[in-house]
Point group: C2
Amino acid sequence: MNSELNNIPHRRYNILTGEWILVSPHRTKRPWQGKTEENKSHKKENYDPSCYLCPGNTRASGDTNPDYKEPFSFKNDFSSLLPDSPEINFKEGLLQAESERGICKVVCFSPDHSLTLPLMQLEDITKVVQIWKKEYLELGSAEDINYVQIFENKGAIMGCSNPHPHGQIWSQSSIPTEILKKSLKFREYWEQHKNSILSDYLEQELEAGERILDENEHFVSLIPYWAVWPFEAMIIPKRQLQHIGQLNEAEEKAFAEIIKKLTIKYDNLFETSFPYSSGIHQIPTDGKYYPEWHFHMSFYPPLLRSATVKKFMVGYEMFAGPQRDITAEQAAARLNDLPEEHYSNRI
Amino acid sequence: MNSELNNIPHRRYNILTGEWILVSPHRTKRPWQGKTEENKSHKKENYDPSCYLCPGNTRASGDTNPDYKEPFSFKNDFSSLLPDSPEINFKEGLLQAESERGICKVVCFSPDHSLTLPLMQLEDITKVVQIWKKEYLELGSAEDINYVQIFENKGAIMGCSNPHPHGQIWSQSSIPTEILKKSLKFREYWEQHKNSILSDYLEQELEAGERILDENEHFVSLIPYWAVWPFEAMIIPKRQLQHIGQLNEAEEKAFAEIIKKLTIKYDNLFETSFPYSSGIHQIPTDGKYYPEWHFHMSFYPPLLRSATVKKFMVGYEMFAGPQRDITAEQAAARLNDLPEEHYSNRI
Ligand SMILES: O=P(O)(O)O[C@H]1O[C@H](CO)[C@@H](O)[C@H](O)[C@H]1O
Ligand SMILES: O=P(O)(O)O[C@H]1O[C@H](CO)[C@@H](O)[C@H](O)[C@H]1O
């Protein structure tokens, strides 16, 4: 259907942000003489005495981790946001600043230092989903917390400073830019169609098929039509839920399952522990009513051609707008061609 | 004036995009155990027989570079945009795409392979300004070209695949997201105040002083109040010009001079060839009237703590919004403390 787009420069519209993405599929032919990344694939130990996230170890702050057996969360020792910042509202001519309050947490996914989400057992990933849910609800009901951003930076190339499987949660009083953009688009569509734009999009994608990666009873994973990162993917719940606090037990498990399958495909793509930043976009916790929202999880992985060559979002991308080389359909086809079993089990 | 902001998490408003930036100045204390970059400082030769940008050499396309003595531009052999893409307007339900036409060029700043802007002679940087001006006017008057993005990716860490001093120009038929955002803000302010928002901002910054880096007869460089990258800087012409095509001879030279002085400071900061992406934002070339616009050049450098530790714009930044650790005032003070002479001349 979109095959004529596979060879010509074009731009695609992101229905959730209202922004366009430049796609240059003919450009994949260019040679790469630039920076390559190290491909560290050495096996990690289950326990690392120098890791500040392993059970029982002492962290930089001096606190000692409990001997945890399940996903474990704690307040970030170097939080970007603090709950008790003094109230400041500064406005002088064209300069405008205001203090921001928040709580930052670290979520260890597993006590086992050597694991990553794709290598974890399904039931243990389900426990990660459950701790995200608990944190979202707890942080969201704290005073002054109006938005809770759950995310993971995986891999050194994504600024992750510790290979122990973990993610972060930054929760804060103001509502961040990306959420404001999406709220606007969800709202516009809702007012016109009295339906979630993502529900309608999902229906259209399931019919088209060419960007679908995986589907189970409660979730679908796909490469969004407007993907920016080479193998960017999105996980969407079939039921229109505003936030993960609404997941029932079966949905928690189905969410864990589709995360596991997606991240296994990612690892299999270049037979490396595939780096990415992932995050969940859901409704603000300001107590307002957001019937239009539909939560979703996105993965932004930088690798483009191999385990060592990434896509740089620089010059043009910073000053004009995002650009990608392969189309969303090509990315989906590449991932769909891969085995479902993790490559490390096959060797 | 903003000293109370130097220790508490806050957010600042970007008057040109309408977006907020999270600033966490207390966070600079955290230790860094993450990824470090290589610091290649080996001296480059004036001529590299394997470089596809050196005079007289043959490029990947098979074309041979002339024996150029001055800045030299040519059509990018691996252009992201092509002038003759077939016209496609695809809209089916929630999927929307359209073909994009454009012309991409490479601009070699100097025949000398070993140089970079801060190491070039003032008169040679002036010639770079002149070729940018010529290209902006020529590309801008080509059919179907409604916006011309001039930029430079400097350093391997910024996706630059060739160390020969060069920049790029991507020109295209649609107007990119970042320009649309700024146009809106310029317009809003113009309608209310009948003045350029950047002229008024500049006046306020010159009065405050604490974010000013440099000033000459025609230009000012400063760390914008809402800077995102650790040492992000902006060069603003004092006269409200809509585009670089309007620069007179004295202004061309003053522009070159302020670029040279800023990039020397950058190199001196960590005594390394300082990586960045820079770009010029100016009016679309669609023939419309943009009295509100005020062109400016920005530098987005990723290094944070040293020549090997950069700021990662990942997880939170991708999903919520930009975050920085040091304040704009701290960054300006660091740069202002440095010598004006390039470190390589001093050793
Ligand atoms: O054209 P180059 O220098 O090969 O490529 C570089 O600049 C482009 C424009 O910012 C980016 O799209 C690429 O990711 C980057 O590697
Ligand atoms: O908190 P960490 O893992 O040390 O830091 C990492 O994630 C943060 C949130 O995305 C970023 O601001 C940092 O640049 C990145 O290095």
